[in-house]
Symmetry: C2
Subunit: 248 residues, 2 copies
């Protein structure tokens, strides 16, 4: 996988702000090669503003008058498509597509095409592609912002490079409701007071004790029964401290 062999190609973009948003999305995920086919306004201050610290991606962007010039040397071309077509083309979701692009990018030039904000790529443009990519969306509102679509595709490429983290066990079979944030906060107040009472915690030098305890209980996620048990223990402990202080 070589992200430097993958270019993002924007066709006839209307809003320069979207070009800036795309540049930032690319750089955040480690991509740098931006091609602009007949952008309506470029360069533009709105693009610079939205790009934030990705101005270098804008500055090295290649502007071409036709799509063919932007992708003529590519061996693998992916087109993003929102529409059902009369003749269905091979259509993959961003995750599957990223795997295909990543594997092709080791030895080939790869392009991903994104169309106009209002009507995407034309049928003629889509016919230039080896694969079509479709981002799954809600039927209630399926029109993604251009920069968002680029972000999702670049994110999927990044995920292929990122270190895997060990998965954690699930809790859908739990027999008691998990407790709420409010209840946990009351518990932490109670816990901190009790630890102070027993002089395990010195309020003048608390160090990271409460942080470590919060991390512990956040990680396990207490259910309501467990929380009641712990608070019962704290209450009983405080009674013993009170008794001991009385008999001093």
């Amino acid at each position: 996988m070589d992200l430097d062999n993958i270019r993002i190609v924007l066709v006839n973009t209307s809003h320069p702000g979207n070009i800036g948003g795309v540049a930032r999305a690319m750089k955040n995920m480690g991509l740098s090669r931006l091609y602009l086919v007949e952008p309506r306004q470029f360069p533009h201050e709105e693009a610079d503003w939205r790009a934030a610290s990705a101005g270098d991606v804008l500055q090295s962007a290649v502007v071409t008058p036709t799509l063919e010039e932007a992708i003529g040397d590519c061996q693998f071309v992916v087109g993003t498509s929102a529409r059902e077509r009369r003749i269905p083309w091979p259509l993959l979701d961003p995750r599957q597509c990223a795997q295909r692009m990543a594997s092709a990018s080791s030895q080939q030039q790869v392009a991903v095409l994104f169309g106009r904000e209002d009507r995407g790529l034309t049928n003629e443009e889509l016919k230039l592609c080896n694969l079509h990519l479709h981002v799954p969306t809600s039927e209630a509102y399926s029109s993604l912002n251009l920069a968002m679509a680029v972000q999702i595709v670049c994110y999927e490429l990044r995920m292929l490079q990122a270190q895997p983290v060990l998965p954690r066990s699930e809790d859908d079979q739990w027999d008691t409701p998990f407790t709420s944030v409010e209840n946990m906060e009351r518990f932490y107040v109670h816990l901190e007071q009790t630890l102070t009472d027993i002089e395990f915690l010195d309020p003048a030098a608390p160090r990271q004790l409460m942080s470590r305890l919060r991390r512990l209980y956040s990680r396990v996620r207490l259910d309501e029964m467990e929380l009641n048990i712990l608070r019962g223990i704290l209450t009983e402990t405080q009674k013993w401290v009170a008794r001991a202080n009385k008999s001093r």
Copy 2:
């Protein structure tokens, strides 16, 4: 999985445009519950503009003065974090986190917290969370736009609902270079001419013949040797047509 039990919580957002971008990203992916903790400017016309057709998400957004009020009734809270912390918290990537949220959302209230544009969530806010979520980014530029981060998390939730599409075979073991777009376009010109020559294609009524042939060759992806073979066949075919016409 119930997306209606998952809320997006934005803490102290500075730019109203980002709030609008978040609303659109949510609705595109089928989420609707937006909470705003002390937004700097809201409502605001920039938010409306960026929300596009997601104005309903903005209108039903819940504005609260404190984070505790936004998440007090939640049983599962995820905080987005860009930073390394002194005491590492359980940290998952968006994909793993989406699985945890989706499974919890069947019976519990779930919140995902996103912090300020310039400095994220505070340590105190992160301590309220059961899990921390980190979007993998490039070391060269790790600061994601707020709405982009929300888009990625909502996209991962959507992907869990979307129909899987059959994966396709890979081509990394190929023995000959794949051909380029330019060569394919020359081939299609040659093919169409030949089909016209042999009177298989009627230019006055072409129907979808060329579209179907383009789909076929795009799908298989020709290597340079295969392309040479096909063009050789076309050239030979045209010779036979020429001979036949001469002898008429």
